[in-house]
Amino acid sequence: MNHLAHAIDEIGRTTMFFAALLKTMFRRPSRFGDVVDQTWNVTLQSLPTTAMAGFFVGAIMAVQFTMQMRDFGALGYLGGLATSGTLREVGPLLIAFMLSGKVGAYTSAELGTMRVTEQIDAVRCLGADPLQELIVPRFLGIVISSSLLLGAGLLMSVLGGMTLGHLFAHVSPEEYVRHIPTILTWPSILIGFAKCAVFAVVLATICTYRGYSATGGAKGVGRAVVTTAVSTMMCLVVMDWVTSYLAEAVMTLARGP
């Protein structure tokens, strides 16, 4: 029961932190240069792994779909289906998981260390707002770069699917890409990027909050990193369900009865 109360308490605190962060973002915007720096750092840190993962996700999707599609004689749709599946489901979740392992852990450790060595207090004592100075640029950096990474990962997944499709299912590259525009409609693209943004907001809020509120020396920083990893993973799968459900509802509504 205590654990449950503690969990609810933490959700409340994280939500309040998110609200304070939003308020700061609009009332006292951070310097544009700081946001660009953070976005650049996050994107550069994660680009190689995202590109590699994207390539293999495309490849996996191609392998998984080939068998079923061949039975229906619809191999021409392989590229479209694999790409749509990647964009709408696997891509955003994978990007968020990878970012949480790399950037989430890094951010909470960095902010946690700044907290326990009183550097965050020092920022406040020197007349600056730590939320505006440290948190908002990191938050925006993660959110913006997650969309850039999704775009890059998606291109790599097309390349991966195309290569594997050509080698193992003998689908020519032209045939692989031909039906991508038919299946990959604008709503799918919007859903993919919206999901990615929601996941990035969840991840960025949790990792900055955990680091910002760390207490108790090296052990406290370690605890902040571990709780960031655990709570991010849990929140991401829950949010994946919520966003998928909402997306389906919106699509149904848009199509009409």
Partner: protein, 256 residues
């Protein structure tokens, strides 16, 4: 009677239900140097951070220059904080910035000065604390005494009217300690600022203080000037300044 820089009335601070300070009532005059002394772990740093606005008290009132410190809005508070400076116990230097960038940080954040003006200011403050040679080094590349001086330069960069020093001579040899206190004194007179300092070193406390206050058992006992403190009848004060093991004070391990 000097105008008051700080007025604390019945201030109480607790962490996770554990009371650290109770019913603290304390005044600090403009331009005064008040030194907080007392056993470790009994609330000196907590009191200092409460006055600097880093810890929110659960009870009581704090008035800074006739303004209610606890009830002002965020902008007013930020403006007031800009007029305060603080040297932290462990310096809290920005380890990803060079010495010059550490001093430039508050100037970039809170003033509209251009880079040339900021560069001149940084040079001036590094010169004042004798760190011109170390401007491009990072905090972990310089000695403990130099880090302390860098912390002082950064705290003073905005020419604050109220300065907090949390144990400015901790971990320093006696010669460096004396030099640091002389530096604090010189800068204080140059800038005509109010100083509130915490120290465990009685010699340095006597060197700096206009008034001393003993923080013990969650309360504050203002003991008066250096001479008054030395003659103070309270057994706790006598035990502390003589460093006796036997007596009413029981030091608690841990930070204060």
């Amino acid at each position: 009677m000097k105008p008051k820089a700080f007025e604390l009335r019945r201030v109480g601070v607790a962490f996770d239900g554990r009371s650290v300070l109770r019913d603290v009532t304390l005044d600090v005059g403009e331009g005064e140097c008040l030194v907080l002394i007392g056993p470790s772990g009994q609330g000196k740093t907590t009191l200092l951070k409460t006055m600097a606005g880093l810890i929110a008290p659960q009870d009581g009132e704090i008035t800074v220059r006739n303004q209610n410190f606890l009830k002002m809005d965020a902008t007013e508070r930020l403006n007031l904080l800009k007029r305060m400076g603080m040297l932290f116990q462990r310096n809290a230097l920005f380890d990803s910035m060079t010495c010059a960038e550490n001093v430039a940080f508050p100037l970039r954040e809170t003033t509209d000065g251009d880079e040339a003006w900021i560069g001149d200011k940084v040079e001036q403050f590094l010169e004042a604390v004798g760190l011109s040679q170390a401007r491009d080094l990072y905090p972990d590349e310089i000695s403990g005494g130099m880090q302390k001086r860098l912390g002082i330069a950064r705290a003073l960069a905005l020419s604050p009217e109220i300065i907090f020093y949390d144990d400015p001579t901790a971990g320093l040899d006696p010669i460096t300690s004396r030099k640091i206190v002389e530096l604090i004194q010189r800068l204080r007179h140059e800038q005509n600022s109010t100083v509130i300092a915490v120290t465990n070193d009685m010699n340095r406390a006597y060197q700096m203080a206009d008034r001393l206050a003993l923080v013990a058992d969650g309360g504050v006992l203002v003991t008066g000037s250096v001479e008054e403190t030395k003659r103070h009848p309270d057994p706790r004060v006598r035990q502390f300044i003589h460093g006796s093991v036997e007596g009413p004070l029981s030091p608690v391990s841990g930070g204060g």
